[in-house]
Symmetry: C2
Subunit: 337 residues, 2 copies
């Protein structure tokens, strides 16, 4: 909660309102600037450098028919990230963000590429239809490895993305259990299921959901239904917040990770900037639970951190506005009569 | 109208749909990429370089009580642009856009700064409450000078902004007459009028509107009610389109200029990308008339081209997506089963 009577808050309000523009005329850019100022505890925030970390992992549940893409695509897309051809690469170059790819548990043999950061927990999770996706020990490793990754680097803005065929299923189950909701309203098309596919996916997720209580604490929800990439992202979000970074939250899966991070470390939520409203069906429920109003609404549903990257220029512009804009007084501009 | 059966359109659709992402997963970025490809007539569009031109002028109607800012603020803000302290400067630096400021008719003596591009038509328009704001000759000069400005420069993206105390009034009158609407639904708070101020402004604009027929052709509407900056911007939009540039349309006033440009040169509209939905009351009516769906919705209402600049990174990302992203085939990624 922001204490609007503190001297910092009063100075912040004054700084924004005396810039050479009508009060409020920059709308949500002003709100965003205030958030960044609070994160960095300064009236001259800097939000230039940015790193996108993409967490990749496989899901035991993916083999059961919840996705129409073959599970091999997780690995194929990681190779695509490594060779620079995916949307995340293109957008990262376009906004000048560094990119690191983390294997937190893909199926099969390790990819022998030194550019890939290896934090492999297991070759994919277990099938959550039948039992816990991961052990409590595996979860702790995922969370702590995620946090440790964000203890390194000099970036002011941390973006997170994910790759893992089946991970909208995992995210829906984790989200439903955290919120105590039935899973069905959180089931969407993922990579592009048709209506029949969504019905089949919902029935499978209902079966997985029925194994456990309606509401679970965050660690139980993650170990029962999580993916390694969702858990490691949640840990990384906590770590990035701890390190004082601005955390840009991507779409549906990243928002579920953010909900987990908020449960694990409530103060982390003060560092979140929500990038976009995904076209994935369950996103609005998760955003509501986070009291989040994303910056962009572009009907995107790709993941990989692509939405987060597109919000980076807005974050930079907001910080620059507060840091660099002249005041009425300094510029010699008259105010309203 | 796009002929979706042309070989170019088929190749464009195929190029976008075979990128390594589920079909449609980049949402409006895909639509934007297609628009840019059509503007540049290539499947490998480039949208990197950008120039923002801000047109500044004064309005005879500004002295009558339609704004609560003193008219001197037009000049003071131009000096602020020239010294780099306005929101437009900050955002231009933030997205790496060049900036040029054009005096198309401010009150008083010329500003003696060689960085200011002088295209002064007169020291402000006449008072549109009492008679035409400008002569037919002045309008022709404004349109042709605007077009000529865009014949120079190597920028792929042209953004346009404006500064002129009183120019929401001018824009509302021009917009109403072009659309054959009463002016009242197009009257908004401008720089921040209260309810009483809006009522007074609406009464004054009604008086100005009553001087002429309900619907006017574009040149009559502009000479009766236009500002020099609105007319010159309309000319510049036509010129930028003619030169093959992507034209990013800012907020309320720029959208009225875009409506004028579309009336003057219908093909110009194929070059428009609408940046944001302004908080100014009349913007939605103008956007509807242009069949425009802006990219951003950030409750901004500043003008100066600030909204246009914030859309630049989306335009760049969309072009880069089409130009640089790998296809399923080139990346060796499997498609859906």
């Amino acid at each position: 909660m922001t204490d609007h009577s503190s001297s910092f808050e009063i100075a912040l309000r004054t700084a924004i309102d005396t810039k050479t523009k009508p009060v409020g005329a920059l709308g949500r850019i002003e709100t965003l600037a205030a958030r960044i100022a609070r994160i960095q505890k300064t009236l001259t925030p800097v939000a230039d450098t940015c790193r996108l970390t993409i967490f990749a992992a496989d899901h035991g549940i993916a083999g059961t028919g919840v996705s129409h893409y073959p599970q091999d695509v997780t690995r194929q897309m990681v190779l695509n990230f490594l060779s620079g051809g995916a949307a995340a690469n293109v957008f990262a170059r376009s906004v000048g963000a560094d990119l690191q790819i983390v294997d937190c548990g893909m199926m099969g043999e390790p990819v022998p590429d030194p550019a890939l950061v290896s934090r492999r927990i297991a070759p994919g999770t277990e099938n959550a239809l039948e039992g816990p996706a991961m052990t409590a020990e595996q979860l702790e490793i995922a969370l702590s490895e995620g946090a440790a990754l964000e203890a390194t680097g000099t970036h002011q803005i941390a973006c997170f993305g994910e790759m893992g065929i089946g991970n909208t299923s995992s995210a829906s189950l984790v989200g439903a259990k955290l919120l105590g909701l039935p899973v069905e309203p959180l089931v969407g098309r993922g990579t592009g299921l048709d209506d029949e596919g969504v019905t089949r996916k919902a029935a499978l997720l209902r079966q997985a959901s029925d194994r456990t209580a309606d509401r679970l604490d965050v660690k139980t929800a993650l170990s029962e239904y999580g993916g390694f990439e969702i858990a490691m992202m949640a840990g990384a979000m906590c770590g990035a917040a701890e390190t004082g970074r601005i955390v840009i939250v991507d779409g549906y899966i990243a928002s579920v990770a953010a909900l987990c991070a908020q449960e694990l470390a409530p103060a982390a939520a003060d560092h979140f900037v929500f990038a976009h409203r995904s076209a994935e069906a369950g996103h609005n429920r998760i955003l509501d639970a986070l009291s989040a109003e994303p910056l962009l609404e572009l009907d995107m549903r790709l993941g990989e951190g692509t939405g987060a990257l597109l919000a980076v220029p807005l974050v930079r512009a907001a910080a620059a506005m507060l840091r660099e804009m002249a005041s009425f007084e300094s510029a010699g501009v008259s105010g309203p009569a």
